[in-house]
């Protein structure tokens, strides 16, 4: 019998990590995601599964502890909010280059700078376009409910190991802070050393007599070798674009206007679609679940049906650029910044202007 609980999005990330056999969490507190480490500290998983939970001295230390854990094939994670995630960018580009799996949860807050703790989606570019230096991408998952906060922890770890890449859950503060009913996952044991060697043969698990040395690095001083590394990474991203795109299409096919929105904004827009249809305007909501890879093909399919598009975001206009890349420049944008969340009525006004 599946266990149902009433939990905050942040709390369930912690619970899901324990249940999915996570080996280690390294983090530094920051609102609005502090409940993740708080819940872990209350749950004491080190007594239950042996999972390590460590409050590092900084975000830099956190991501480099994750780097170390990932190098040895462990399922490791960190979480932070916007300013803290900025500090982690060096570690993330190193891990992308070294092809190391990990889960990073960014519960975004209003920026730029230290900003405010209100909900935001202002880190879209940073998450989706790489974030650190060099040509790399993260797989970016955007949960819109507490249930998805639970489910994407497991999905995130699976994708991270499948592609040997850091995976980011990009969450707005609303989904992190709200409580909903959630069906918790079954307990999965942590991988044994043998399982790690089987599932992650690249992992550094100790040199054995006669076995070739393994080497994990992001430093390739030979120019042509580094180009080959880049080509390999790009080939990997191409496969992700072909195989890992996830989205939800809510009544877009019979709609005249398609709202593209992710996270909690997509839910607000579901309400907008309902209000609009009550007034005879056919509106649908296309919610990307993966922000990288982006649902370009689905948007192009809808564009071929002659629909109008609007991107609604808690930002000054970031995802809208990817929508425009997919369907052309004629895409409207509406967004609020600074931690302000638009009301359904205010978005509906924008929709009416498009009719």
């Amino acid at each position: 019998m599946a266990e149902v609980a009433l939990m905050k999005g942040n709390e369930v990330v912690a619970e899901a990590a324990i249940r999915y056999g996570c080996d280690g969490y390294f983090g530094y507190p920051i609102t609005p995601q502090s409940e993740i480490m708080e819940t872990l500290m209350i749950r004491k998983p080190w007594e239950e599964t042996g999972m390590v939970v460590l409050q590092a001295e900084s975000e830099l230390a956190s991501i480099n502890m994750v780097y170390g854990g990932a190098s040895s094939g462990k399922r490791v994670m960190t979480s932070s909010s916007s300013p803290g995630i900025s500090l982690m960018q060096e570690g993330l580009t190193y891990m992308a280059a070294a092809e190391l799996p990990c889960l990073v949860v960014n519960v975004m807050r209003g920026g730029p700078g230290l900003g405010t703790i209100g909900p935001s989606q202002g880190d879209y570019f940073q998450a989706v376009k790489g974030g650190g230096h060099g040509d790399y991408n993260l797989i970016v998952l955007a949960p819109a409910s507490v249930q998805e906060m639970n489910d994407f922890v497991g999905l995130g770890f699976d994708l991270a190991f499948k592609y040997r890449t850091p995976v980011m859950m990009l969450v707005d503060g609303i989904v992190g802070q709200m409580m909903e009913k959630v069906t918790l996952g079954e307990f999965k044991p942590r991988w044994t050393k043998e399982q790690i060697e089987q599932n992650a043969p690249w992992a550094l698990t100790g040199k054995k007599t006669g076995a070739p040395a393994k080497y994990i690095t992001s430093c390739f001083l030979d120019l042509s070798q580094l180009e080959r590394v880049n080509e390999h990474l790009q080939a990997k991203y191409k496969v992700m674009k072909e195989q890992e795109v996830r989205f939800v299409n809510n009544d877009c096919d019979d709609a005249d206007i398609v709202i593209v929105a992710y996270g909690s904004v997509a839910r607000i827009c579901r309400k907008v679609a309902q209000l609009a249809r009550e007034e005879g305007i056919k509106v649908g909501v296309l919610r990307p679940i993966t922000l990288f890879p982006f649902p370009t093909v689905e948007l192009q399919r809808l564009a071929a049906m002659g629909k109008k598009f609007i991107s609604v975001e808690l930002s000054a206009g970031q995802m809208v650029e990817d929508v425009r890349l997919a369907v052309g420049n004629d895409v409207k944008f509406y967004g609020r910044t600074g931690g302000i969340v638009p009301t359904p009525e205010e978005i509906l006004e924008q929709i009416k202007k498009m009719v």
Binding site: L6, M178, E180, K271
Partner: protein
């Protein structure tokens, strides 16, 4: 059935936990629920509010600006949220500390002297359960038995001995509602 509720007051009045118990009580009745607190800088300034939605259907937006019921527990919240009640909806308020009373005539207005009763009972901590009792008496979206179950589910076992006291406060709250103004 969808009931969209805002509870607004001071930090320390038990606003968030009252919302949580209500949400749990909804789960006991197999409803979809969402609980969204104000977690912004305003909570550092002493006020607290929470939006709770109980519904038979999947909940779309967890953030709203119009509510079926608004429960107001201080003057700041009265100023800010009297206007947020849907026409024909319900405003419940505790008159303690209220100097500017509600004036709308398109909503139902109920007064709950919960602060006074909590003080008289000698246990001011049960204030939020009194208010919850009054709310359930007015709207009846959940049953007393569901609230009892919700307390058992949401409180750590070491506090279970306090459940009878809380349920007593809940019941006394049910009898405390004064209907000040009713829309036909």
């Amino acid at each position: 059935m969808t009931e969209e509720i805002l509870i607004a007051g001071f930090g320390g009045q038990g606003v968030l936990s009252m919302g949580k118990i209500l949400a749990y009580a909804g789960i006991m009745k197999d409803k979809e629920v969402s609980w969204m607190p104000s977690y912004g800088p305003e909570m550092r300034g002493g006020t607290a509010n929470v939006t709770v939605i109980l519904s038979d259907e999947k909940i779309s937006s967890p953030i709203l600006n119009k509510f079926d019921t608004v429960i107001v527990l201080n003057q700041q919240s009265m100023d800010k949220f009297e206007g947020a009640v849907k026409p024909g909806g319900c405003l419940l308020y505790d008159p303690n500390g209220i100097t500017i009373f509600p004036t709308r005539r398109d909503i139902n207005i109920c007064r709950i002297e919960a602060t006074r009763l909590a003080a008289e009972s000698g246990n001011p901590k049960v204030f939020n359960m009194i208010v919850l009792g009054a709310y359930v008496a007015v709207k009846g979206v959940v049953e007393t038995s569901s609230v009892q179950l919700a307390l058992e589910k949401s409180l750590p076992e070491r506090y279970h001995k306090l459940i009878p006291l809380n349920m007593q406060a809940f019941t006394s709250g049910m009898e405390l509602v004064e209907k000040e103004f009713l829309v036909e």
